[in-house]
Symmetry: C5
Subunit: 321 residues, 5 copies
């Protein structure tokens, strides 16, 4: 589905040509065309391929989707795939945006995601001195927007982690903590798969040999790389903490169970003392003088109670109960 | 066993020569011969070695089998070994295909695997503009086919993992989960050994200095490398998840056992209370007034029941039962 | 908020110009201006941007804060972000200092931290032969001061770790040890995030290709790098030890619980012996000759006591009790 | 101890000179001398050092033994140390072979190992077209022989691992499994220390800049490197599996113990039920009507049996027993 | 404190000048001065700094001590810091030696260590053909001596580890094993911090671009590097083994505790059987015919004993006891 298509010259929008008249603008010197598609059909992609002379393999990747994030050079144009992440009902929904950037065109194809980039186009058009740089700036602006949308997600994950950590040593919470940590780990891995490969690819857009169309935009791509590095460091920190927290909680859960067993054993021991005493006075020997005393019974009860309390107090003091 | 042997010129099949007339076609300019063997005998391999002037070490590797995946350069020709994976009855069967690609020939030798590559040849012949590139394209097409067949396997492994994860915290499942996770880990390692070394080798076919026969096919080999990287990332994610899941389930199994012990201890405690009371009224003191009352027995039973219920309720409330 | 602003020539302070007259001094050959701001407002940063011709992205980073430590080159100037760590009430407070260093200016912007750098300026002014090197020396002096302030923090963390380790195998401490280790790990990670990225960036200021303004200061930046490497090695050692210590303490906690259960079970067993004997002599058979002997009762009590003591002694010897 | 010493020209053995006449052959163009020593004395090594002009440090390493595997260049000659592994009575015996290879000589010194290399010499002499390459081929042949002897060892270790894995979840085996896994890990580490450093050093004999005497043997050394990589991959896989298996078995052992405790607790519970009922009818109340009925005793026994069976069945159904 | 100071020419000692006449010898061509200090005072270091024109930062490092091992280039001179390790009463004492080596001087400053290097000087003076190489050889000889003194330490640590491993599965030892392993790990980490950084720095003294004063000593520094690599590999192996051993012993300790609990539960079960039977015959039913038989009591005792033995035997056979 076409979202919009505009031609720019000297950083200003000069026309909104229909898709099949794009080629008129591609030939004008200093002019570039920026097309945005969403969930593009095979026909649309094929039209774009012919208009912009895109490489078969890149078009195939854009139409198949479910790619690993990457930046590939095809001749003098670049092909970028990034993942769009949205938290929908506690689950991370993974969409995708493919960006084709050549000397005189920029094409973005968004798949399986509700996130749009209208704001990016508006911001670009408000800054003609930057947009004048051409399609590389459009590519930067889109990538920057995608990466910026990772920050709220990492914030959410960190908040969730902190809320779990606050009760990491709370009794009776170990089991639910583990389940939440396990779920959190899954989400962190999704974010990591969106960020980690990109980090490596973006590193090739600045410093050393860079693709020609990025050559005067290096500071900007380094900024994107820096943002990715920041997210990646957070992801690694979260993963590390989750690992320790899961281990700690698993042990906590085990300890809690055995602690209860221990206390039950202590109570059983106290009653065993009572039973043993009662058993002794329940023996049927003929000559058990205390049995025939008036004070026998209350004293026996007293001894039993005292013995139980003593044992209870001993366990208490030894922190066994 | 010879599967087929054909000579191509300008991307079109021009003849199906018998093996001993291959040399006639090798000498024609712009012509290359594509031979496919299966479980080749020593004689066949020796014939091929002489026809195509293959290196001794490469032929030895192809005949011995059980190689690590690799790509090696011998002069101006390439020698590729890849593993063919098939899920047969829950087990991953590991076969092998060795590909020799020189300027004017492509030879594939498939060992211990039922997977054939007839479809690859057909597809190549339908695209003469690509096949015109020569043996490097054949090599690419075969490698691409092998790698594409890894995807359904990784899907199966992911499905199995998800099915285990769904019941990772289900009581009573811990033990069977561990066994399944352990088996899954073995399969993932097999896939990893097929993919990880290849990833490194394919990286040498594009970017920087590449073997001459691949020089105008770099985008294609990068595409293979990208697929391998995607599989490798999935493999790493699965391994990581399996590790955490095994740890979690091992602890779950321990916790389950101790939880039952705890509950048994609680029940034993309840009966110990009954026994202690009964023991007391079973003592043989002469003067135990309650023993001689009509209401003594029912009240005693009542007290015992009340005490047991109270203890039971206490345990219940403390979540010990 | 402006802290101070001074112009230097030949290593000596020549003037304290107001912010809007800085440009007069920037034009003088061999003269540089050193400005220190604290929690700078957008206006101040914008003024600085215009005076020193700073890059938009760097200014944005300095005003947003919460950056990852980094060193970036913008043309012939450098932009450094470092974290300022302070232990406030057991918590590590993370502030930030951003340093802009160009051929004829040095600007430091400190955010969210009470640590000031007045001592650095004084020390620099006392060593004019070094300050003569220009803004790179100022940058070095500030970085060196920041890094030096990490050492007392790592000392505190090591002291805390040692105090935990001393009682790592002390009974009854396992649980509180784990909580302290877990908290310590969090603080170590904060320090690590301040140090590890810096280590990499500082490495680019000496050896190989270095930014022009640092070229005759390489030994000094290598010294900063060496300090960072030392802190980083300590951080890694602490992390490694914490990992082992947590694992050990988790197991210790489990072992302690089960050890108590074991001892309770032993005591329960001793009383079970008494109960069993008492039960036997409590049976109602008509012909139990020992019941009718005068010595019956004391001997029975004796047997019970001897049996219990024997069992107790057996448990003791087997170290079960 | 001298094993043998022969001079070769054009790939054919031309003489078996005594050690002190070696120098005559060293001067002949196109001729090289191949000496094999075993557990060489200091005198023999010193003689060799003078004849072949070996470097002091290399001779010292060869005489001291217990080196890490390595390949070192001394001027235009190479010094190789490899470990010889033999399984003797379940233990891995570690011997050593040091190879000195110069333009016109090859010297092998074998220490503390019963493995001989007579077969290598025979094989080389049967292939004069390869032996014509000179001492580098001898060096290759020896290295290849050493590496080939690692394969049966890795096969043995894999077989042992598989035999343990087959019973990894078998009850009652956990403890002995752990001990076997632990012993296996020790052996794997020995193999790893023989292989891993070599892998790195062999990589410097092919590709990029190589020592001059290896320059036309690169395919062969790459083949050795490939074998080492294969062994190394197996070693890593075994290590990884051992790690998981040890963890799993440790937990299994814990689980087994607690499972038995659980079942014992269940049985104790069943008897506690019987005891509680018996205790109730053992109370001495005057008015317990059922005590005076003829059917009282059998009914009581029946109730006790029914209660115990009910409890037993309940436990069984809940899989607690 | 000055240990000694000597001037050398052509590998032979020509004079023992007092410290303030060193400069006379520094100017002579082909002559170098070798000074050894111990726990040097600030005055001594300052004198050395002026005599040899040492860099401020290096002198500062040498006087502060507690450095990470390192090798730094200052112009045409080298600055080396290595750690001296001594086992004093079971603790690893960490001292330091700083070596300054310039074209015509070598200065060693030893701090906080009783290890002296007199033997190194003697050995050097016995080999004038090597000492002729100048200060780089002195530096090599000192470094080699320091590294050689690490070997007995690693041997001690390995011996300790083996002694622990021998009883790793011995019952009742788990707890003390863990404590010893934990202490051993601490010592291994100290050795590792002495070796690992050095390994990296020494690698820069041979191969590729090396500091000029080392250029004809590369084989010797490679030898030092090789020794360090050997120690480092041992350290890594010990660490890996300690990790596994700690894990194993922690589980062993848990298993031992639960095993005892299990056996206690079994014994409690046996007595519970006796108690249950005794309780039944202790019931007060009027019509319990066996109570009135002469054989009743002995038969009851017999039944109880048989039941207990049967249970005991059953537990024994099931390996529960």
């Amino acid at each position: 589905m076409l979202i919009n298509c505009a031609a720019y010259q000297d950083g200003r929008r000069i026309a909104d040509p229909p898709l099949d008249q794009i080629s008129d603008y591609l030939e004008r010197p200093g002019c570039f065309v920026w097309v945005a598609l969403r969930d593009a059909t095979a026909q649309e992609l094929d039209l774009m391929r012919r208009e912009f002379d895109l490489h078969d393999l890149a078009v195939e990747d854009a139409s198949h989707g479910h790619q690993r994030p990457k930046i590939e050079e095809y001749g003098d144009s670049l092909f970028v795939v990034m993942q769009l992440l949205e938290l929908v009902g506690g689950e991370l929904n993974v969409g995708e945006v493919a960006i084709f950037a050549g000397p005189n065109y920029a094409l973005s194809v968004r798949n399986r995601s509700a996130q749009h980039f209208l704001g990016v186009r508006e911001r670009c058009e408000r800054e003609p001195h930057l947009l004048r740089q051409g399609s590389a700036f459009v590519m930067y602006a889109l990538m920057d927007a995608v990466v910026d949308r990772y920050f709220p997600i990492i914030d959410l994950l960190e908040t969730e982690l902190e809320s779990i950590e606050e009760r990491i040593f709370t009794k009776g919470r170990a089991r639910s903590n583990i389940e939440r940590l396990y779920a959190l780990k899954g989400q962190v891995m999704v974010l990591r798969h969106a960020v980690a490969p990109m980090l490596e690819y973006v590193g090739k857009l600045y410093g050393g040999r860079t693709p020609p169309i990025c050559s005067n935009m290096q500071e900007y791509f380094r900024d994107v790389g820096d943002h990715l590095a920041r997210i990646n460091a957070s992801v690694d920190a979260i993963r590390d903490t989750i690992g320790t927290a899961i281990t700690a909680n698993l042990s906590m859960a085990t300890i809690e169970e055995s602690e209860i067993t221990k206390r039950l054993a202590a109570w059983a021991g106290i009653f065993a003392v009572a039973t043993a005493f009662a058993g002794i006075w329940g023996m049927n020997f003929d000559y058990m003088p205390e049995l025939h005393q008036r004070w026998g019974y209350p004293v026996a009860i007293g001894i039993i109670v005292v013995a139980c309390v003593a044992v209870w107090w001993g366990f208490k003091r030894a922190r066994w109960l």
